[in-house]
């Protein structure tokens, strides 16, 4: 077991300067004054993690809060599949959307918490969605109006399959456009965690859109009524 790093508190400062990030983090006071090398390296680790969290911009925050609302609506939509006669492919897709987007909501909430930002809370009651703490979160690109949600809630079986895919494709494409908008904004995506999340959302949802387009294409013509 090799832990031979010769680290001293002064080097914490030196290395942070070397990081040359835009904002100098106020971290040295919290670094433990231990002679243990590992403890000092761990302090440097925490300092750098903290400093990386200072790179965000308002555009990143807007993206995260908006995406929390956007993802939350996907949970509402996908939550209908088991009770609305969705076919088994859509059931599988819905289960994965719920798992993936729930995790991403938690991830984005943590991202905001780590940066002392307002953390939107999601409340889902049937088909009614409320996002506390983010007014704009209900008007993001691709999101369904409440009457579209109700239309989906009324549909069953073949009609549900078609409407679900149509609306979820629209919904996902909205998320992709949110990523593009973010990346086209000066100063955005400099936070590596934000960049990674946005990039992952982009590729995952583009991949899912392609899969859903093939599923939609394969549905019987004429609304798929049975």
């Amino acid at each position: 077991m090799k832990r031979s790093q010769e680290t001293h508190i002064v080097s914490v400062l030196a290395a942070l300067t070397a990081l040359a990030c835009g904002t100098a983090p106020p971290v040295t006071d919290t670094a433990p004054r231990s002679r243990d090398n590992t403890a000092e390296l761990e302090a440097l680790y925490r300092a750098r993690i903290q400093s990386a969290r200072m790179r965000f911009t308002e555009a990143d925050v807007h993206f995260m809060t908006g995406m929390i609302g956007h993802h939350a609506q996907a949970l509402v939509m996908a939550g209908l599949s088991p009770t609305h006669g969705a076919n088994d492919e859509i059931q599988t897709l819905s289960a994965r959307i719920i798992n993936a987007q729930k995790d991403e909501i938690a991830w984005m909430q943590q991202w905001l918490r780590d940066r002392d930002q307002v953390v939107p809370e999601v409340v889902i009651d049937g088909t009614t969605l409320m996002v506390h703490g983010a007014d704009h979160a209900m008007q993001m690109p691709g999101m369904l109006t409440q009457s579209q949600i109700e239309e989906l809630d009324t549909a069953r079986n073949g009609n549900f399959n078609r409407l679900f895919l149509t609306y979820m494709i629209q919904h996902h494409q909205g998320a992709v456009s949110m990523v593009h908008t973010l990346f086209a904004t000066d100063g955005a995506g400099q936070d590596e965690a934000a960049f990674k999340l946005a990039s992952d959302i982009q590729v995952d949802q583009i991949t899912e859109v392609a899969r859903m387009e093939l599923m939609l294409e394969a549905l019987p013509a004429g609304g798929g009524a049975q």
């Binding site: 077991m1 090799k2 832990r3 790093q5 080097s11 070397a18 040359a20 990030c21 590992t38 390296l41 761990e42 440097l44 680790y45 925490r46 750098r48 990386a52 790179r55 076919n87 088994d88 492919e89 599988t92 897709l93 994965r96 993936a100 995790d103 991403e104 991830w107 079986n157 399959n161 990523v179 593009h180 990346f183 086209a184 904004t185 000066d186 100063g187 995506g189 400099q190 590596e192 965690a193 960049f195 990674k196 999340l197 990039s199 992952d200 982009q202 590729v203 995952d204 583009i206 991949t207 392609a210 899969r211 093939l214 599923m215 939609l216 294409e217 394969a218 549905l219 019987p220 049975q226």
Partner: protein
Amino acid sequence: MFLNTDTVINRSWLWPLTVGLAMSACAGSANTAEMTAPIGSMAMAVPPTPDPRVGLKAGLFDAEEAIWNLRMVSQTPPSQEFVGVTNSDLAFSGHYAIQGNYNGVQVWDISNPSEPTLAVGYVCPASQSDVSVYENLMFVSGEGLTGRLDCSGEGVQEAVSHHRLRGIRIFDISDIRNPEYIANVQTCRGSHTHTVLKDPNDDDNVYIYVSGSSAVRPAEELSGCSGAPLAEDPNSALFRIEVIRVPLANPKAAAIVSSPRIFQDLVAPPVHGLAPADIAVIETAKARGAFVADINGQARVLPDGFVSVQLDSVVKARGGSGAPNAADSSAFRDYLPVLIAQLTGGGGNNDGDGPPPGPTQCHDITVYPAIGLAGGACGGYGLLLDISDPANPVRIGAVSDSNFAYWHSATFNNDGDKIMFTDEWGGGGGPKCRVSDPKEWGANAIFTLNNRQMRFQSYYKLPAAQTPQENCVAHNGSLIPIPGRDIMVQGWYQGGISIIDWTDASNPIEIAYHDRGPVDSTKMQSGGSWSVYWYNGVIVNSEIARGLDIFELMPSASMSQNEIDAAKTITFDYMNSQGQPKFVWPTTFTLAKAYVDQLERSGGLPATRIASVRQDLGNAERASGNTRRETLTKLAGELNNEARSSRDAAKVRTLTSTVRELANTR
């Protein structure tokens, strides 16, 4: 449930038919993970229970650890300029391990694996800093928006900037302790990963396949870049990969030579066939007299509910009533193909605007030049590419899977008759190994590869449940050169590393592992194994937060010391895992003894015979000249005769030829 898109499309048609049909089709695959059919009588090491990986104490440098059939040789934390920044992929050159990091690269001298020393930490920030080497050149991927041409860490604030680097950085590492940054190749989507291809027929160049998965850059930043759909712009940077040619005599002249649209017309991949577990279900169903229909080329057991409704209508059609008789069943059986054709045929919703252009990109491509093929993990597909013309890879096969979210990487077995794909569900930032996460999601999928056709066999997912504080999903790994077996070591982020035996493609099993507790017990803090590769006798792990780990295999019932020693006879001057090298084992006594150990494990020779073969090999090894040759020649002759009656005849023949080659070695 493993499906190709063909099946997805057409099964939707069958929805009105019944839910049950689809569910019965699932049953076999859903049980795949539970299939525990023993491989012959092989005695493998029994994993400790309860699994010690569950419930490990959290910590950054002091997390609790669990280890099985491995020995940790060293764990080296990141150097000061890199700690707290993500460690990424690994490449190897000589006795150096080159570790990518979002802050640059760290070059570790691992000539003494128990005490790696930092040869150089080269600061040049960019995500993901995927690294590769070839001779005196090192290639590094840049994708993130913060990467700069001048390697400074200040980021790039402007959405359009000529300071930004997204693409491939090229370094001259003739003096590896002083890398010289000599060139860039900028690409429209940057480089999330890349793959260096050394074509066996081209000694003047190497090729780099660039996979970029983030957004397309504005044309104002890099001329010619367009993120428009193909229908709007035939020069769109989407729906293609980039191929860079690097002239070895003048690497500064490296440039994009082609942008192959390897996804074109990728609508529905060919039917991959049923997994062995599905076939078993169908055979059992047939045996009990169930109705089995061919639906779009795949056998499906018809659910009883559907069948009884249909049989009733047959009874009614002949004017009868009550239970159907044998003649009714027979009539229904004859009518079944027509009925299925009616239910699945025609119609559709094709809007006639041509086939979709396929995925927009690959995540990663693994080339295996020795067999002229590459495996591409691309959006919703696993692709097989012919790379005999390195600048113009051609797609020759594709598979899809309703359980796979995002195809991430590929690994061939050494013989090139199997390929494993991974699904990086959640992008590596999510905790996808919890008890509640399905075993088929975020897993590996194993295919056999015969006549360039991929056929699904099974899934493998890390068997130890992880906490919600641990990002975990299938990630990077490499083969371990145990002769005659397909052994792979693989990183699962904070799920740790897992070594599996996938010699039996339908029944992969875990034979060794290492895991740490979460980085943080209170919340998800990124960490774990980004990639773990075998290189020249040791297993090197790039730990995102903790640094560089080096392991050695320990002998167990699953792997003997002779097999480990035989693996150590394979050495390379350099290695990039995505440029898969072929293992050719030198003829040694160790190799012969490893095969004997395998025959003992498989019961391919009786125990008494195993003992006498070992005796003969030992005598021959101690002898020399004619005595050695005669002993070995006699042994080879005997083994040759015994092969026929062995339950593991192929292995006895492999041993025979090894012994014969030993006899002829001076």
